[in-house]
Structure formats: structure tokens, C-alpha cells
Amino acid sequence: MMENLVVIGNGMAPGRMLEHLLETSRGRYAVTIFNAEPRVNYDRIMLSPVLSGEKSYEQIIIHGDGWYIKNGITLYKGHKIVAIDRDAKTVTSDHGVVESYDKLVIATGSVPFILPVPGHNLPGVLSYRDLDDVNAMLLAAQSRAKAVVIGGGLLGLEAAAGLEAQGMDVTVLHLMPTLMERQLDPAAGYLLQRAIEDRGIKVICKANTKSILGDRKVEGVELADGRIIPATLVVMAAGIKPNAGLAKAAGIATNRGILVDAGMQTSDPDIYSVGECAEVGGHVYGLVAPLYEMARVAAAHLADGKSTAAFVHNDTPTKLKVTGIELFSLGDFADGEDRHEIVLRDASAGVYKRLVLKDNRIIGTVLYGETADGAWFNDLKKKQVDISDMRDTLIFGQAYQGGTPLDPMAAVAVLPDDAEICGCNGVCKGKIVGAIQEKGLTSLDDVRAHTKASASCGSCTGLVEQLMSLTLGEAFNPTAVQPMCGCTSLGHDDVRRLIKAKSLKNIYAVMQELEWSTSCGCAKCRPALNYYLVCDWPGEYADDYQSRFINERVHANIQKNGTYSVVPRMWGGVTSANELRAIADVVDKFNIPTVKVTGGQRIDMLGVKKEDLPAVWADLGKAGFVSGHAYAKGLRTVKTCVGTDWCRFGTQDSTGFGIRIEKFMWGSWTPAKVKMAVSGCPRNCAEATCKDVGVICVDSGYEIHFAGAAGLDIKGTEVLGLVKTEDEALEVIVALVQMYREQARYLERIYKWAKRVTTDEIRRQILDDIEKRRGFYERFIHSQKFAQVDPWSERVSGLHKHEFKPMATIGIADAAE
């Protein structure tokens, strides 16, 4: 007599299981399937092509109605099982059908995770799991209106691409900083985001959904930061969870999913489970390969009670099913000391490949832009092949064993002809290459003479030389450039020019487009890149705090014992009884061990515990103090003497002017620290002639000095020139500092930069060329709009709270408990 096999669920896993079972044991079971969806078994992986219009429902059917009839299988469409009676061995559907079983397979799949935010049940909020969802989305897309997809993972991006293909205006909201962060490293995530945005889909990362807005239907999504994105359709694709409720209610052991052994058997020996609802070996799965493996194992056990078939965990490669985007991710791609990475970036082709090796074996792979070798890498990983012999060429793939490394000049080669190489003289790539060819130029001096490129500040010299190498081939022998760090062969100047020329606006973009050899940079290049981006794209670039040195992250100076020093701003070195009283109170209240007067005319409180910093700032803030940026690669102090206010020799209001400069320029980030001073007469009591920028007031106006040093090197200032009014002096000083901000290398003080660029050139751009000066001045003012925020008050209000307290405290008292 045939045994009754009842299957709950008609997805891809049970479908495949039945195929196996029919092959090996046709006639052993009378099979009955209950499908909560009113249809046959179809290929859910292909829902995305259905949504984008590339395929129809009919094309993705796996088993049509005929298959069930031919194989004598009873299929209840649109019947949801509501109860399992394990004593009577029956199941009951929501339409009242009761079926008894000898063996039962639970394949209830998964349910989408719906964010429990206000408005989540409004009409117009959909999930993305089955054909009904797709049909609803297609209907909504007819309006050509705005859609929001919550979730920038595999499913969310496929949904977004599909909706965009249907003509909707789509925004993807993703909680994490980069897309698909579980499958991709940040570098590949950046490329993916760029490709998605190129299709016209907006992407907002670090987007925390607060609520879904609307009265009777969806009208928009509100983020935690207050932004509102209008939408008539919201698709929740923020993850899935195993649908184990039915099994749990029947008393079957569950955890995250339905617990099964390696033979897919649940805690009830007559009941099996396969698919996304099953949890085996601590894992639940959502990709098809392991689900098919479950199907194979379950079928083997149903066919033969003594089968030894067992499910084994295997990393499954991830691919994105969006036309035109090639992406492949496999295994563990985190780096570590016992691991080695091989990175290949091809900026012109938009390719990023990374292999993670341990003991000469591949343990992880991320491929973007070119994924043809994914299967080969997967195979090498699965078989644990020792790759030592092909290590040098491994990354080029199977077909290119023995290939040559990429051209180090690729980044310059792919620049368009209108990319600006020389910022000082506005010379583009096309003009330089054209001049070299037409005029037969062979030396850097020739190029400078004919095009003016690299003839001013010289910071583009490296790039001009690379263009000469490209154009002239081996005939040209460029001077060696000192690379920024071990992660790149480019020097600081080349990197700075390329950031502008290629409009690179975040660290991942720089590392990809300039073909960094590491995935995450190092402690040398990251702070430099962060500064260049802050300087070049004010208001557009989001400061990367994790790439800042600790002092700039916590806005205080770390001391040798791990405590910090706190220096509030005293504008121009002028203070008052109230300010001094506030400082004294803070010192008492927080038991600050040392109080010292600094060389910059202000007061330093040393030995403050990190945890106390926000409270110290709060008290100082109440007295009107703001951060003195004594820790910053930025404007530090403007020392002054008392000038015409008090001094019988004073020629101008040096105190007032110093305060004006400091109030105008505070908060700005610079390549290295900037210290200034204003003296009211040539007796120079403010010691302005050893500062980065100094002013000596004289009867006829203001003598502007710069490029002094009184540290590792001692050097008197150079005189930039004399100007008549305070307004003009301010404009000159600001323009000078902006020129330095835009051109100098990270950590290069003004005197070293000036030596490279020459005083004459600086004088030409700042004093002689009024238009140029004005340009620098305006750019500084624009930048200050985003920079002049007191970092202390921001942190008193709770910004970066995590920086200031331990994550946990494990006490001795607790240990005794």
C-alpha cells in the first residue's frame, strides 16, 4: 500500500525534492501538496526579471499543471495549512480540508521582515517575496510615480532596478554605510552604488527609517534625521525570517528556523523540513544552491530510511541579478594578519577584484565589473587548491595565467581631454598632449614654456610627466615621485590633482579610481585623503571620522598617559575675569592636575580623563568658550600685542585685527597646523616673524609675512607685501591660507610648501593677480560655511557619544558575586 506524503508549501525546495523522489521511488508515496499561493511551482529567483519586464510569469513556471496530473500529485492551490496534529498525523487547511500523512514535509519558506515603524501597514507598502507582490508593484508602477525601496541588499536592489525599468522614480534607503555590506567589502560597495546611481536610482546610505507617512495610503518616508522622501509605493526589502510558526505551534523544535538534523529530519521522526524555514547546523539559508541540496538530502531519506545522505554547509556565491551589473561574492573576505589579499583595480573598466588567501588557499573572493572567473575561484576555494605556483597571476583569472600587470599610468591614461591637469593656469590634458605632439616637446621645461602647465606651483608636475611618458613612450624619463604610502605609487600632488580632475568625492572612490593596492588604506594615507576631500569638496564630502587621528576625533590632545588636554579659544589672547573664573571652576570640579599658559596666549588644562571631556566642555561652553583647536591640523592661535589700545608705540589696532582674523578663520582644516600673530609695530612683541602667517603693523598699513618656523626648524618669515587697509590685509591672508590649503601636501607646513612653490609664485598669485586672490578668498568663505561649527558643543549635545565612555565596565565587586 502507498504511504501518504504531505508537503506544506510549493516553493522551489519541495519542488526539487519531489523531482528526486519521483526519480528514485516513483509509486512509493501518494503525494499531496498544500500551497498557500493559488498557483503552481515557479522560479522565485526569476521574480526580478518579471518585475523588470524581461520575463513573463509563464516563462518562470517550473512545474505546470500538467506535471502534477502526470505524476498523480494532488495540489491544493490557495490552501494554507493552519494546524498539524502530530498524534492523529493529520494536517488541516484554512478551507477545512483534513489530510492524513505518514510522512510530512514542512516547506513554509520565509516571511519578509517588516520594519515595525508607524505606517508600515498603510496601503502601498509592499514586501518582495512572491508573484502577488510583483503584480502589485507592476500595477503601482503604471503611475510612473515615486517609489522608495527600504533595504540595499540583494533583494532590495533587484526590486529597485525592476521598478526603475518600469519607469518609476526610485530611491533606495539603506541603513548601513555601503550597499550589500554582508556580501561586499566597502570598495565593491562603492562601485555598486555608483552603477546603481548611474541608472538614475537615488541611493541614501546610513538611512534610518523613522516612519512611513500617509493618511489613507502611502505618501512618503521620513528618516530619523528629518528628511522626507515622497513616495506612492514603499517596498520593504530589509531581510527575511524563517517561517517556523506552524511547526512551533505543533510542538516541533525550533530556533530561528525549524531545527533539523543533517538528514533534514525535525524533532519528530516522521516530519522533515526543507527550504528557507529549515535551520541546519546553526545556519538558515536564502540562496537556492543550499536549498536544492536540502531537497536532495530529504528526498534520499524519504526514499530510503537508512540513507546516509547528509547536508554539508558550503559557502554559496552571491550574484546580483540586475542587467549590466556584474557582481560576485564568495566566502570570507575580511582581512587579517594570517591572511593575504590580492587586489586588482582597473579604474577605466570599473573593475575591482579581491582575493583573500590564508595558507596559500583562497578563502574569499569579491569580484566587481568582471565576474567570469568567479566559478574558477569558487572551484579553487572548494577544492582548497594551494595556489603558491600561480600566485602572481592568480588575480588575472584562469585564461590569463602568465598575464602582465596593469599599466601604472592607467589612471592618467583614462582622463578625458578636458580634465584639468594644471589648476594654477587652467591647462587641460588635451592641450598638453597636443602641444607635446605638435611641437615635438621632449622635456618638462619645454612643456612648461609652451603650455604653462606645471609652471606655477608645480604640484601637477607628476601628472604632466606621466602625460609625457604616455605620449612619448620610453623616450621620456621622468623624475621619481615619492609615493604617498605603501598603498599607492602616486605622490601627494598627483593624488590631489586627480581628486579634482576626476571629481572623486569619497575615500572609496579615490582608492578605486586611483587603483589603491589595499582595500582599506593605512594610517598614513587615510588621514591625508580625508583632508584632501574635506578641503576640495566642502559641503559635499562627509568627513570620515575613522580616518582622523584621535586628537581630531575627540577634539582634545592625547597625552602620554592616555589622558587629554583641553585648550579653549581665547580670541587674540584676550580674556576676562568671567572666563578665568569659569576655567578655575572647571579645574576644581574635575580635579584637573595641571593648568598651564601656552605659547599661543591661552590656557591649557592637562590631565583630563577622556570620560570627563564632554562635561568639561559643557561647563566651558556655558562661559562662552569654544574649542581652541589646539589639536587640529587647522587654524590654532592668532597671537597679538595690545597695539593702539594701550601701547604708546602701537601703529594699528593689532589686538582687534588679530581677533578679527581668528573669528574669520577658526574651524578651517589645513594640511598642517597654522599659527599666526599680529604685532602692532616693528618692535614685534607678538613675535609675528616666526609664524606661519604674521602681520607687522606700520604707520602706512600692514606688512604681511609668511613661511616662518620656530619648531624643528627655525626660520624667519618671508615678506609677502604691504597693504594699506585692514580689509585688504584680511583678504590677502585668507587667500594665502586657501592657496596653501588647496596645494600643499598633508602634514606639510607653510614654510616647506612655500619653499617648493617659491615666494615669487605665491606673491604673483596672491598680490599681483587680484582675480586669483578673489577666487581663493571666495572659496575659503564657502568652505567656512560648513567648517565653523564648534565641535565641543556638538559633542556636549551628544554627537559621537561612543567616543567618550567605555563600552562596558567589568568591576571587581561584580567578579566576587
Binding site: P186, E337, S519, G521, R526, Q546, I550
Partner: protein, 111 residues
């Protein structure tokens, strides 16, 4: 080994670190760009700098005091420098982080 809950992985920024106070000194807990987690003594082998305050790159941290680079996996100094700090066993369950200290101890989560 006894595991002590110290908080959630989301308490630590990517490419960042937090410290945990214990009766035997501070422990630095790291989270890399790719969500790997590590715990080592918060005390550079060179001059005792707080490693939890350094810049995290790859699976290494650069000490904020004198730029020694310490491997997060082994606690050993990388490059030409020689020295090491103790690596502390750490595990992630779901989003929860646990470290194993030698003695029995219970953590107070920071608010």
C-alpha cells in the same frame, strides 16, 4: 572559559574601537571595515599608548602615541618594531559581543 557580555557590535563604529574596563586593566575591542571583531589589551607594548584610540586599517591598529602598528589578530607589533600585547578571546553571537576574562566577572553596560 567564562564569557562576559560587553555589548553589541553596533556600539562600535566600523574601522573603530571601544574600550572595556576590567579589574585587570582596559581591553580594546575593535570592529574592522568588514565587521571582524578583535579584543586586545588596551596598552601598546612600546610605551603603553591606548590602542583603542588609534586608526584601524585592515586587521591592524596604529597606536596614537608613536605610530606603532599592532596586529589585532595576534597582538604582535608589525614591521620593524618588536613587542606584543595579549589578545583576549572574543565572540559574536547575533549582534552580542562577549569577551572571556580569566576570572568570573559580570559587565555593566554603559548607558
Amino acid at each position: 572559559m567564562s564569557w562576559t557580555l560587553i555589548g553589541s557590535i553596533t556600539d562600535i563604529p566600523r574601522r573603530g574601537a571601544r574600550c572595556v574596563e576590567t579589574p585587570r586593566g582596559k581591553v580594546a575591542v575593535f570592529r574592522t571595515a568588514e565587521d571582524r571583531i578583535f579584543a586586545i589589551e588596551d596598552h601598546c607594548p612600546h610605551k603603553g599608548g591606548p590602542l583603542s584610540q588609534g586608526i584601524v586599517h585592515g586587521a591592524a591598529v596604529t597606536c596614537p602615541l608613536h605610530n606603532w602598528v599592532i596586529s589585532l589578530e595576534t597582538g604582535k607589533a608589525l614591521g620593524a618594531d618588536e613587542g606584543s600585547v595579549r589578545a583576549i578571546p572574543i565572540k559574536l553571537e547575533g549582534e552580542q559581543l562577549f569577551i572571556a576574562l580569566a576570572s568570573e566577572a559580570k559587565a555593566h553596560r554603559a548607558a
